[in-house]
C-alpha cells in the first residue's frame, strides 16, 4: 500500500513481501497512467481517411503505419524535431544551470536577499502565462529576435519555471552545514563549492528537474506560436498543431504525430529516472 514506508529496504529483499507489494503497486500505477494513453497509440495505427470513430478500438481492424508516414511528410516532423532538439539541447542545460546557480546562491545569501527573491519568484509564478505573451513579444521584436529560436530558449533564464530554483534552494539548504564548512576551510569559492560539493550531492534533484525541464521545453506551444512565423523554424508542438487542424478523418495522422512527438520524451524520462535513485545515502545505495 501507498503508505508502506518503513525503512524496509535491505530486509525487504530477504523476505520479499514489502518489495513485492511495492511491485504490485508500481504495476497498478503503470497501468492506471498508461492505459488511457494506449488509446492514442491504437488510434494512430488506424488507416487515415476512414470515418472518425467515437473512440479507437483497442485493436484496430487493420493496424498499419500509414498515418506515421503521412504525419512525417504532412507535418514536416523531421525538420520540426531537429528544431525542437536544438531548443532542448541549449535550453535544458542552460535552464538547469540557471536554476541550480540561483538555488545555491539563495541557500547561501543572507535571509533578507533570499526572502526577497523567493517572494519575487512566487509573484512570478502567479502571473498567468497568457498575460505575458504580448509584452514579451514586443520585447523580442524590439531585439529583432522573433523568428529565431532565441525566444524559445529564453525561458531558460527564469529556469523554465521559478519553481525550480526554489526546489534547488531547498535541496542545497538540506545539505549538512559541515559539508559547507569543509569547503570554506578549503577556501573554495562559492562557484567551486557549488560545482564540487553541492551539485554532486543533489544529483537526484538535478535528474528530476532535468526531466521536468525537458518536458516543459519540448512541449512548449505558446511561445513558438507567438514568436515563430517561418515554417522552417517550427518546433514539434507547432507542427503538431497544424496536423491537429486536419479534418476528423485524418485523426490517425495527428495521433501518429503526437506519438512520435512523445517518444523522445519517453527516452529522456527513462534515462532521468534511473538517476533519481542514485543518491549517496545508504538508503539509495541499496
Amino acid at each position: 500500500m501507498v503508505w508502506h514506508d518503513f525503512a524496509a529496504k535491505r530486509r525487504s529483499t530477504v523476505r520479499g513481501v514489502p518489495q513485492r507489494r511495492r511491485t504490485y503497486g508500481a504495476v497498478a500505477v503503470t497501468l492506471l497512467f498508461t492505459a488511457p494513453l494506449a488509446l492514442l497509440v491504437t488510434g494512430s495505427l488506424r488507416e487515415p481517411g476512414l470515418p472518425p470513430v467515437v473512440a479507437p478500438p483497442l485493436l484496430p481492424d487493420d493496424p498499419g503505419l500509414t498515418a506515421y508516414q503521412q504525419a512525417i511528410t504532412h507535418g514536416d516532423l523531421v525538420r520540426a524535431a531537429a528544431n525542437s532538439m536544438l531548443v532542448a539541447a541549449v535550453g535544458v542545460p542552460l535552464s538547469l544551470l540557471v536554476a541550480s546557480l540561483a538555488g545555491f546562491a539563495l541557500a547561501r545569501l543572507p535571509r533578507l536577499v533570499t526572502g526577497t527573491v523567493i517572494a519575487l519568484s512566487v509573484l512570478a509564478m502567479m502571473v498567468p502565462a497568457t498575460a505575458l505573451l504580448l509584452p514579451r513579444f514586443v520585447l523580442f521584436r524590439t531585439l529583432h529576435l522573433t523568428d529565431t529560436l532565441v525566444p524559445l530558449v529564453a525561458p531558460a533564464l527564469i529556469a523554465t519555471s521559478p519553481l525550480y530554483p526554489l526546489i534547488y534552494y531547498l535541496a542545497f539548504r538540506a545539505i549538512p552545514a559541515d559539508s559547507y564548512d569543509l569547503c570554506r576551510l578549503a577556501d573554495l569559492t562559492p562557484m567551486q563549492t557549488w560545482r564540487r560539493m553541492a551539485l554532486p550531492q543533489v544529483q537526484p534533484v538535478t535528474a528530476g528537474l532535468a526531466a521536468l525541464t525537458f518536458v516543459l521545453t519540448w512541449s512548449n506551444l505558446l511561445d513558438p506560436m507567438v514568436y515563430l512565423y517561418d515554417r522552417a523554424a517550427f518546433t514539434l508542438p507547432l507542427a503538431l498543431r497544424a496536423l491537429a487542424a486536419m479534418d476528423p478523418h485524418n485523426q490517425p495522422v495527428f495521433l501518429a504525430g503526437a506519438v512520435l512527438t512523445t517518444l523522445p520524451t519517453l527516452l529522456v524520462l527513462g534515462i532521468a529516472q534511473r538517476r533519481f535513485l542514485h543518491s549517496y545515502a545508504p538508503e539509495g545505495a541499496s
Binding site: 559541515d178 559539508s179 569543509l182 576551510l185 577556501d187 573554495l188 554532486p200 549517496y280
Partner: protein
C-alpha cells in the same frame, strides 16, 4: 611554515547561548595544546572560532602574528577535523582525502598518491574506493583525520579525532599525530576527552569550562597543581575526590572550614589503622591490574584506586589513609586552590 596562535578576548554567542566568554589564549608556534573540558563547555566552538567558521562576537584571532579575525576560513590556512568526522558523501575515501589538494590545483596523480599515503598512515589503505556510508564509525573518523593530515597548514585543529577508535589504534594514531606534529612543527589545538591522551600528547593542557579557561598549564601542573576544584575534579579518570575541610579527612592542622580537601583516588590507601577514618566499601570495579573502590566515609562518597590484588570486598570496613602531601586544598567560596606549605605527615 607554521605560526603561533593568539586569541584576545574572544567571545562567541549563538542566539541566546553563549559558547565562549572572553577567551585569551596564546599558543606559541609549534606547540600542541590539548583542550579538555566538560561536554558543552565550548571546545568545539573554540576551534570553530579559530578556524573562522563561526564569526566571533567579540575579540580577535591572530595566526602567526597576523590578525585573521576578518578573514575567511579559507584564508587562515588551518586544517580541521570535525567532531562528527564529516566526509563528503558523494566522494570516495580517496577523493575525500584528496579534496583539498585537488582544489589547490594539485594534479590528479600527485593528489591520489598523497591521499593513498595518508590513508595508509591511518590504516585505511584498503578502503580508498569506498564511499563514506560504507565505512564503520572508526573508519570514517580515521579518513577524516587523514584528510586533515595531508595538508601542511599553519594550525591544526583536531576535535576529538580519536574518540571512536579502540585503545590500540588510538595509541598508534596518537603517536602518528605527534610524529606529524613534530615533523612539521605545526601549531596544534587538540580537543579530547581522553585523559591519558591529553597527558601523553599535550605540551600544555587548557581546561575549558562554561566558555572560560579554568587553567592552562603543562600536564604536570594541571595534574599536580589544579588551579580550581573544577580542574581537580575534572582531570583524571576518575578525577579527584573532594571532601569538606571539616569532614572525615583533615589537614595536619586539624579541621578547617571554608575549604574543600581534594585527593586523587590513586593516593587513597586502604587498610590503614586508627586514627585513620573508617570507610565502608560500596562497590568494587576491577579494571585489569587496578581496582576502583567506591567507599562511603562519614557520609561522603570516596573513590580509591588500588591494585586489583589488594582490593577489599563490598561491605568491608577499611581504614582510609592519605598522605598529607597528596592533599589539595580549595576555597569553597571561590573554588580556587589554596597554596599549602609542603608539609609532611598523615592526614587523619
Amino acid at each position: 611554515m607554521t605560526a603561533g596562535l593568539r586569541l584576545r578576548g574572544v567571545s562567541l554567542s549563538r542566539g541566546a547561548v553563549t559558547a565562549l566568554r572572553g577567551i585569551d589564549l596564546a599558543v606559541p608556534r609549534g606547540e600542541l595544546l590539548v583542550v579538555l573540558g566538560p561536554s558543552g563547555a565550548g571546545k568545539s566552538s573554540l576551534l570553530r572560532a579559530i578556524a573562522g567558521l563561526d564569526p566571533v562576537t567579540a575579540g580577535t584571532v591572530a595566526i602567526g602574528g597576523r590578525d585573521v579575525t576578518a578573514q575567511r576560513p579559507g584564508q587562515r590556512n588551518v586544517s580541521m577535523v570535525f567532531q562528527n568526522h564529516s566526509l563528503l558523501p558523494h566522494l570516495t575515501v580517496a577523493d575525500n582525502i584528496a579534496f583539498g589538494d585537488r582544489i589547490r590545483g594539485a594534479g590528479h596523480r600527485a593528489a591520489a598518491a598523497r591521499a593513498a599515503q595518508a590513508a595508509a598512515t591511518v590504516g585505511c589503505q584498503d578502503l580508498l574506493a569506498r564511499r563514506p556510508h560504507q565505512l564503520s564509525g572508526g573508519e570514517r573518523q580515521r579518513v577524516a583525520l587523514a584528510r586533515a593530515l595531508v595538508r601542511e597548514p599553519d594550525v591544526f585543529l583536531l576535535d576529538e579525532p580519536l574518540a571512536n577508535l579502540d585503545a590500540e589504534l588510538r595509541l598508534r594514531m596518537r603517536t602518528e599525530i605527534r610524529a606529524v606534529h613534530d615533523r612539521l612543527g605545526t601549531t596544534t589545538v587538540y580537543v579530547t576527552h581522553d585523559q591519558s591522551e591529553a597527558m601523553a600528547l599535550g605540551d600544555r593542557i587548557a581546561v575549558l569550562r562554561d566558555g572560560r579557561f579554568e587553567q592552562v598549564g603543562t600536564p604536570d601542573e594541571v595534574w599536580r597543581q589544579p588551579r580550581t576544584r573544577h580542574v581537580a575534579a575534572f582531570v583524571g579518570a576518575p578525577g579527584m575526590n573532594l571532601l569538606p575541610g571539616d569532614g572525615p579527612l583533615t589537614l595536619p592542622g586539624g579541621p578547617a572550614t571554608g575549604v574543600e580537601l581534594g585527593v586523587r583516588p590513586e593516593h587513597v590507601t586502604l587498610g590503614g589503622t586508627p586514627p585513620d577514618p573508617l570507610g565502608e566499601v560500596e562497590r568494587v570495579e576491577v579494571l585489569g591490574e587496578d581496582a576502583l573502590v567506591h567507599l562511603t566515609v562519614g557520609g561522603h562518597p570516596l573513590l580509591a584506586r588500588v591494585p586489583a590484588a589488594a582490593r577489599p570486598a563490598p561491605g568491608d570496613r577499611v581504614g582510609i589513609g592519605v598522605a598529607a602531601e597528596h592533599l589539595h586544598v580549595f576555597d569553597t567560596a571561590t573554588g580556587e586552590r589554596v597554596p599549602q606549605p609542603t608539609a609532611a605527615g598523615r592526614a587523619g
